[in-house]
C-alpha cells in the first residue's frame, strides 16, 4: 500500500511530465498538446483528492469532489493560457498557414496593422529630391506617398523604390532596406516608443539615383520594353536603373483611412492590370533580373581575353571572311553584313574587327583561346559558368547572376565556343552585368560594387550607414583596360556605333550588340528577331559614365541601341555636374 503522499507526488510528477511533453510540441501539432492537457486532468484530480483531508461520506464530501472537478477545469484553462500566451506566444503570433490546395495564406492581422502604423522612412535621390514619403492618415495609419510623381513619371521609379503593400508584400528597396525603413532602433528607444505609444519612425534613404536622369531614361525608351542602366565607374554608384514597362508604386499603396472596399478594389484592379497577359510583366525588373543573349557587346570580353593571351589568340593577326567553318556538320559562322572585309581590310587587326563587329573574327579568337581561357576572363567580369558560385552582382536590389553557358561541357564543342565568342551561344546576361563590364573597362579594369543606397539616416539626421565605394576585384589589367577604351572609341568614332557619338566635345566609346532570338509567326516559323544592345563609356580618356541600353526586340544595336545610348549620355552630361 503506497501512502497518500507518495501517490500524490507520483501523480504530480506524471502530470508534469505529460505537460512538458505537450508544451514541447510544435504549434502545428496542437492536437497533441490538447490531448496531453486532457491526460493531465485525471492525474491532477487524483493528486488534489489525495491532498484534501478526507471528509466523512456525506453532502460536504460530494461538494468537495464537485469543487475539485471545477477547480481542475480552471487549472487546465490556466495551463492552456500559459502555453498560448507565454511559452509559445511568439510562434503563434507569427504563425502563417498556407493552404496546400488553394495556396491561400492565413496569418495574424496584428503584425500587418503594426506595419501599417510604422512611419516608414523617406527616400531621396542623389540631389536630395524627396522621392518617397509617408503621410499619417486619420487613425494613426501611415500611408506611403510618392512626391516624385509631381515631377516625374512614377513608372520610372517603381522598380528601384519598390512597392509596399500589406497584401502583396514588398519589392525593390522597400524590401531590401525594409529593416531600416521600418526603423532600426536600439532597444531602449523601442521600449520608450512602445510605452509612450509613439508610432515608430523609420530611417531615411539617400539614393545614388538621379531622378531627372532616371525620368529621362524612361522617356528615351519611349515605351519599348527594355532597360537602361548608368553607373559611375569610379564608385559603382548607380545613377540610373530603369526597366520598362514599369509600374506606379502608388497603385499598390493602401490607404487605411480611405473607404475600405473602394480602396481594395482600386488596388485589386491595378494589381490585376499589371499582372495581366499583354501587360509585359511590369513587375519584372529587367535591368537586374532579365537575362538575355548579349550579342556583340560580349565581343568586349572576347577582346579582353585575346589581349590577355596574345600568344594564343594573336589578336592582330586576323581576317574577316564572310563565313567561317567551325566543325563538321555545324552551320558556319556568318557575319551580319556581306563583305565586311571591305570595311575592315584583309588581313586586319583587333581594333577594326571590334569596331565593325566582325563575327567570324571573334569566332576565330574564341577558337584560338579555347573555352577555359575565355571562361576565366568572363568569370572575372562576373559572367560565370554553371559550376561557379553564382554571386548576385548587386546587394541593394534582388539581382541575379549572368551565365556564360547553361549546359555542362557546352564550350567543349568548337561551334558552341565560336558562337559564344561573338555573343550568341547560350549566354544569358543581365543589363546590369553589361553595365558593370563597361564600368570595369572605364575604371582601369577594376570592378566597383554597384550600389543604389548612398546613405541611411535617422530622422534626427545622424548617419546610420554610409556606403563606401568598394573595389570588388580586378577584372583585367590597367593596360588592357586602356586598350579596350581605345577599341570602344573606335567603335563609335568610325565603327558601327556612330549614332552614340551624340555629346559635342566629348569622346564617347561604345559597342553595339544585336542578339538574335527566334520569334516565330504563323507565316514565318523560322523568323528571327533581335534585341538591341549598346554599352557606352564617356569621356573615354577618363570616363564618368558607363551606360548600357537594352531594348527587347529593338532590332540593330548599332541603330536603336546606339541612338538611345547617345541620348542617355548627352542627358547625363547635361544633368550631372561633376
Amino acid at each position: 500500500m503506497i501512502n497518500r503522499t507518495t501517490a500524490r507526488i507520483i501523480c504530480l510528477l506524471a502530470a508534469a511530465g505529460v505537460l512538458t511533453y505537450g508544451m514541447l510540441q510544435p504549434i502545428e501539432a496542437d492536437v497533441r498538446w490538447i490531448a496531453s492537457l486532457w491526460l493531465t486532468a485525471p492525474l491532477l484530480l487524483i493528486a488534489a483528492r489525495l491532498w484534501m483531508p478526507p471528509l466523512p461520506r456525506g453532502f460536504a464530501h460530494h461538494i468537495q469532489n464537485l469543487a475539485l472537478v471545477i477547480g481542475v477545469g480552471f487549472v487546465l484553462i490556466a495551463l492552456q493560457l500559459l502555453r498560448q500566451q507565454f511559452i509559445r506566444a511568439d510562434e503563434i503570433y507569427r504563425f502563417a498557414y498556407t493552404d496546400p490546395q488553394s495556396g491561400q495564406t492565413t496569418s495574424n492581422v496584428r503584425p500587418v496593422i503594426e506595419a501599417l502604423r510604422v512611419q516608414r522612412g523617406k527616400m531621396f535621390d542623389r540631389n536630395a529630391n524627396l522621392l518617397v514619403d509617408t503621410r499619417i492618415a486619420p487613425g494613426n495609419y501611415a500611408v506611403r506617398t510618392y512626391p516624385l510623381a509631381q515631377r516625374y513619371d512614377p513608372r520610372a521609379f517603381g522598380h528601384v523604390v519598390g512597392f509596399f503593400s500589406p497584401r502583396f508584400g514588398q519589392s525593390g528597396l522597400e524590401a531590401t532596406y525594409g529593416p531600416y525603413l521600418d526603423g532600426e532602433r536600439d532597444r531602449l528607444k523601442q521600449l520608450q516608443d512602445a510605452l509612450l505609444g509613439h508610432p515608430p519612425i523609420g530611417d531615411d534613404l539617400q539614393l545614388t539615383i538621379d531622378a531627372q536622369l532616371q525620368h529621362a531614361a524612361l522617356q528615351i525608351l519611349g515605351g519599348r520594353s527594355g532597360s537602361i542602366v548608368v553607373i559611375e565607374p569610379r564608385t559603382g554608384a548607380v545613377l540610373v536603373l530603369v526597366s520598362c514597362p514599369g509600374f506606379d508604386p502608388a497603385g499598390l499603396a493602401f490607404d487605411p483611412s480611405a473607404e475600405r472596399s473602394a480602396e481594395n478594389e482600386r488596388i485589386d484592379s491595378y494589381w490585376r492590370g499589371i499582372n495581366s497577359e499583354g501587360a509585359g510583366q511590369p513587375l519584372l525588373n529587367r535591368a537586374v533580373q532579365g537575362r538575355y543573349a548579349p550579342g556583340s557587346t560580349f565581343k568586349t570580353i572576347t577582346a579582353v581575353s585575346a589581349l590577355e593571351h596574345v600568344r594564343e589568340a594573336r589578336p592582330d593577326e586576323i581576317d574577316c571572311p564572310n563565313t567561317r567553318e567551325t566543325e563538321a556538320g555545324a552551320p558556319p559562322v556568318v557575319n551580319a553584313l556581306e563583305n565586311l572585309a571591305n570595311l575592315t581590310g584583309n588581313p586586319t587587326d583587333l581594333e577594326r574587327v571590334y569596331a565593325y563587329s566582325c563575327n567570324t573574327a571573334f569566332a576565330e579568337y574564341a577558337l584560338r583561346l579555347g573555352g577555359d581561357r575565355l571562361a576565366e576572363t568572363a568569370r572575372r567580369f562576373g559572367i560565370v559558368s554553371p559550376r561557379d558560385p553564382a554571386v548576385a552582382p548587386m546587394a541593394d536590389l534582388q539581382s541575379i547572376a549572368s551565365l556564360l553557358y547553361v549546359d555542362a561541357g557546352f564550350l567543349d564543342r568548337p561551334a558552341a565556343l565560336a558562337d559564344t565568342g561573338f555573343g550568341q551561344g547560350q549566354l544569358l546576361v543581365t543589363p546590369l552585368q553589361m553595365a558593370v563590364v563597361a564600368a570595369a573597362i572605364a575604371n582601369d579594369g577594376i570592378i566597383m560594387q554597384p550600389y543604389l543606397v548612398d546613405r541611411v539616416m535617422r530622422p534626427d539626421g545622424t548617419v546610420v550607414r554610409q556606403t563606401q565605394p568598394r573595389a570588388l576585384r580586378r577584372a583585367t589589367s590597367s593596360a588592357i583596360a586602356a586598350r579596350m577604351r581605345d577599341l570602344m572609341r573606335a567603335g563609335v568614332s568610325y565603327g558601327f556605333g556612330k549614332a552614340a557619338d551624340a555629346v559635342p566635345g566629348v569622346a564617347v566609346g561604345g559597342k553595339s550588340g544585336t542578339a538574335e532570338f527566334p520569334c516565330p509567326t504563323l507565316e514565318q516559323p523560322g523568323r528571327l528577331c533581335a534585341h538591341a544592345w549598346f554599352i557606352a563609356i564617356a569621356p573615354v580618356e577618363q570616363p564618368r559614365f558607363a551606360v548600357v541600353v537594352m531594348i527587347e526586340g529593338g532590332g540593330e544595336g548599332s541603330g536603336a541601341g546606339a541612338a538611345a545610348a547617345g541620348q542617355v549620355m548627352s542627358a547625363a552630361f547635361q544633368f550631372i555636374v561633376p
Binding site: I63, L66, Q80, L81, N108, V109
Partner: protein, 440 residues
C-alpha cells in the same frame, strides 16, 4: 443604539472589497478614456459613481439588516461587472469602426444592464419572500421557462445561426437564460423530494443493474431537452451547460460517480449521433479538432482567438493598445479573449481566480445551508455560474469545441447579466443564516 454600529462593524470586509472594485473601475475607465485621448465626460463619472453608490449602499443595507449573508459574493460580482463595463467601453469604438454603428452604444447599455442587475439582486435580497415559494410552484417555474424557450424557438430572431432571442424593439431577451435559473430551482425541488428513493440504489433486471426509475426518468427528460435545444435552437452552449448542471446536482443526491459517467456518455453519444446530421455541430467540432482545416470558414473565429491570445503575452498589450475586435463577437462570447489580449495572461488568470473564488464560496454556502433543498439549490446555482464560465473560457481557448454562451457578469448582454445577478441574490439569501425562520 449600539446595535446598528455593531452590525456595521461585523461586515467591513465586503465594504473594503467593494471599494477595491470601485477603484478598479475608476482606474480602468480612466486608462481607456485617457488612452484614447478623449476628455473625461460627466457621463463616465456618473456611471462610476452610480455603480459604486448602488453596491456600497446595498452592502451597508445588508450589514444593517444583519442577516449574515456571505461577504464575498457581492464584491466578486461587482468586480467582474466592473471589468465588463471597462471592456465594453474600450471595445465600443473599435467595434463601431469595424462592424458599424450597430455597436455604437454598447457601453452605455451594458452599464444600464449592470445597474438593473444590481437592482434585481437587491430585490431578491431585500423583498421579504419565502424560500418555500420556490418549492411550491416548481412546475409553474419549469413550465414558464420551457414556454419562454418554446416561444423564442418559434417567434424568435435568428442570429449567428441560433434562434435564441425574443425581439422587444431596442432590447432583445434571451429566454434560455431565464430557463437556466428556473431549471436549477425545479431540479433542486425534484431531486430533494426523491432523495430517499434515489439513495436506495439500483433496481435489477436479471444480472443487469439499472439506476432507479426516478433517476432514469429525469435523465431521459433532460437528455431530450438538451438534444432538442441543439436541434431546434442550435444552442450547443446552453445544452452542454444544462446537462452539466443536471449531472452535478444528480451526483450530489445519488452520490454515484457512475451515474455521472453514464450521463456524460449519453451526451457524447447524442452529440456524436448529431455530428453527421447537423452542420452546426460538425462545424464546431471540426474547428476544435483542427482550426486550420478551414481557416477562413469554420476555423476563422478560433484562429483569430488564438492569435489574440498570443499577442497578449504575459502582461497584455495594455487597455486600448491591442486589436481584440479582430476576433468576431469579441464583446460577447469572446470577451475572455479580449481581456486576455489586452490584460495578458495575468489579467486572464485573475478572471479565472475570481470564478474559482466564486465556486469556493458558493459551495461553502451550499455546505452550510440549513436544509437539503437549500443545499441543492445553492450547489446548483454555483455550478450554473461557474460551469458556464468554464465552458466558454475553455471554448475560446480551444480546449473544448466552442459553444456560444456568455462569460457570466463579463460578456456584453442584458438577459444574462440580470439572471446572473439574480442567481447571486439567491445565493446571498441562502447564505443568510440569521434570517427570520419564516422567510427561509
Amino acid at each position: 443604539m449600539t446595535g446598528w454600529w455593531q452590525r456595521l462593524r461585523q461586515r467591513p470586509f465586503e465594504l473594503e472589497l467593494l471599494i477595491s472594485a470601485g477603484l478598479l473601475l475608476f482606474a480602468g475607465l480612466g486608462a481607456v478614456i485617457v488612452g484614447r485621448g478623449e476628455p473625461v465626460q460627466w457621463v463616465d463619472l456618473a456611471i462610476a459613481a452610480a455603480f459604486i453608490g448602488l453596491f456600497l449602499s446595498m452592502s451597508l443595507a445588508l450589514a444593517l439588516r444583519g442577516w449574515g449573508e456571505d461577504p464575498i459574493m457581492l464584491p466578486l460580482a461587482a468586480f467582474l461587472a466592473s471589468i465588463s463595463m471597462i471592456m465594453t467601453r474600450r471595445l465600443e469604438p473599435d467595434l463601431a469602426l469595424r462592424y458599424g454603428d450597430l455597436y455604437g452604444s454598447i457601453a452605455l447599455k451594458q452599464v444600464i444592464w449592470v445597474l438593473l442587475g444590481a437592482i434585481v439582486l437587491g430585490i431578491v435580497c431585500f423583498v421579504p419572500w419565502r424560500m418555500r415559494w420556490l418549492k411550491h410552484y416548481r412546475y409553474s417555474w419549469l413550465l414558464l421557462g420551457l414556454g419562454l424557450v418554446a416561444i423564442a424557438a418559434v417567434f424568435g430572431v435568428e442570429r449567428n445561426g441560433a434562434r435564441l432571442w425574443l425581439d422587444f424593439g431596442p432590447f432583445q431577451f434571451q429566454p434560455v437564460e431565464m430557463l437556466k435559473i428556473l431549471l436549477v430551482v425545479y431540479l433542486a425541488t425534484y431531486l430533494d423530494a426523491r432523495r430517499d428513493l434515489l439513495e436506495r440504489g439500483a433496481f435489477r433486471i436479471g444480472r443487469l443493474a439499472l439506476p432507479p426509475l426516478p433517476y432514469l426518468l429525469p435523465l431521459g427528460a433532460m437528455w431530450g431537452l438538451t438534444i432538442a435545444l441543439i436541434i431546434i435552437q442550435k444552442d450547443l452552449g446552453a445544452a452542454l451547460l444544462f446537462f452539466v448542471i443536471f449531472l452535478a446536482m444528480l451526483y450530489l443526491v445519488t452520490r454515484r460517480v457512475s451515474y455521472m459517467m453514464a450521463g456524460l456518455l449519453a451526451f457524447a453519444v447524442g452529440a456524436a449521433a448529431l455530428y453527421p446530421i447537423f452542420g452546426h455541430v460538425r462545424v464546431r467540432f471540426d474547428a476544435w479538432n483542427n482550426p486550420w482545416a478551414d481557416p477562413i470558414g469554420g476555423g476563422y473565429q478560433i484562429i483569430q482567438s488564438l492569435y489574440a491570445l498570443a499577442s497578449g503575452g504575459w502582461a497584455g498589450t495594455g487597455l486600448g493598445m491591442g486589436d481584440p475586435t479582430a476576433v468576431p463577437e469579441s464583446h460577447t462570447d469572446f470577451m475572455f479573449t479580449s481581456i486576455a489580449e489586452e490584460l495578458g495572461f495575468v489579467g486572464a488568470f485573475g478572471i479565472l481566480i475570481c470564478y474559482g473564488l466564486l465556486a469556493l464560496r458558493g459551495y461553502q454556502i451550499a455546505i452550510q445551508a440549513r436544509d437539503g433543498f437549500a443545499q441543492l439549490l445553492a450547489a446548483g446555482l454555483t455550478t450554473a455560474v461557474v460551469a458556464q464560465a468554464l465552458i466558454i473560457t475553455a471554448g475560446t481557448t480551444n480546449l473544448i469545441p466552442l459553444t456560444g454562451i456568455t462569460l457570466p457578469f463579463v460578456s456584453y448582454g442584458g438577459s444574462a447579466m440580470l439572471i446572473n445577478f439574480a442567481m447571486i441574490g439567491l445565493l446571498l439569501r441562502i447564505s443568510a443564516h440569521a434570517a427570520p425562520a419564516q422567510l427561509s
